[in-house]
């Protein structure tokens, strides 16, 4: 299928929409960011050195300053154990600093699993910032990042990992 590709984020809306704010007529933009997604097939593989190397790393690089809005796994063969999902900034598989996005995700049922509060409530200190591309330890904090995953045990689990995000929305000013 043919594709239309853009370098920067895609926004939809107009610059001069009319609206009322606290009783005052105003004109301003109403555009919003298109939500983007990247997907990768994953298999259940245990990596004792935390989240690298990972089979998903090569195919999922999130552009800098993007905010992750949803992470899901479509499980076609059930996993055993739990999975961690994180990100690296420097080079896949080469070590360096790795930070978590999701801890101990349970994928024991076939079907769609969406990451929720119970999968993100035990992240290391400040790692929740990773969802907004604000690394707690890596400088620069605004660079591209590679998604990584690893299971707690080896097994036959198979699925599709999907990360949804708003490209380059840059929430640093308000986060």
């Amino acid at each position: 299928m043919s594709r239309s590709t853009f370098s920067g984020p895609v926004l939809v809306g107009v610059d001069d929409s009319s609206f009322t704010e606290t009783g005052t007529a105003k004109i301003g933009p109403n555009w919003g960011f298109l939500k983007m997604a990247q997907s990768a097939s994953i298999t259940q593989t245990e990596y004792p050195t935390n989240l690298y190397p990972s089979t998903s790393e090569m195919t999922m690089v999130i552009p800098g300053l993007s905010t992750i809005t949803r992470i899901s796994v479509l499980v076609t063969t059930a996993f055993t154990g739990v999975m961690d999902i994180g990100q690296v900034w420097v080079s896949p598989g080469a070590g360096g600093h790795i930070e978590d996005l999701v801890k101990d995700l349970v994928l024991t049922a076939v079907g769609m699993t969406v990451v929720g509060p119970g999968d993100t409530d035990d992240l290391p200190t400040n790692d929740i910032r990773n969802w907004m591309n604000n690394s707690s330890a890596v400088v620069p904090t605004s660079g591209d990042r590679c998604i990584a995953q690893a299971s707690s045990t080896a097994g036959s689990g198979v699925g599709v990992l999907t990360v949804e995000y708003c490209q380059a929305v840059n929430l640093e000013a308000i986060w």
Partner: protein, 193 residues
Amino acid sequence: MAANSNPHDNTYNSTTFSGPVKAGSRRQPVPTYDRDTVPGTVAVTALPNAGYAICSQSAAIEQTSSSESVNNIVLPSGSMIISIQIIVTTAFDATDDKDLGVCSSPEGDGSVRFLGGYAKLGVVGVYDYGDNSNWTTTTFTDYYANRWKDVSYITGVVAGDSVDIRTDAGPGGSQTGRAILTISYIPGLHLLT
């Protein structure tokens, strides 16, 4: 726009693309990189970072006794479904709680394949169809999952053909249930075909 017409037709000015929309500053793969055997040899900043725009289509759904009703949702070949949302505005009351099933059907083929079980929609609210704890049949099997993974991964689909989405309200009840069905998907991934 007339009531019950296709909401995708012309709500207001739109920009339409025939293929998927991608965005990212780097689109080309690194030909010499093998992610399995030589990890660590390429910087993250050299790898492609383009992603797909997520698309969605919505349709009004009525609780009727006729099965496999046609609605206005047609998904491009090879799409992956990432969520199916049902906003119930009038509660459903089909026999045995078999309120609504969502199916895919090859273009030009009368047969249908379910994307899950019958969802219980007995209360007004917002439902995630992928939550199989709300199905009358609770098992989300691999054949359902593979149809989400690639909508073209069903018998009878000709390569490149779009896939029609249908709904099946179970029999019985007052048949007054009403809802908005929204399917979000990534077009053209072709993960299985």
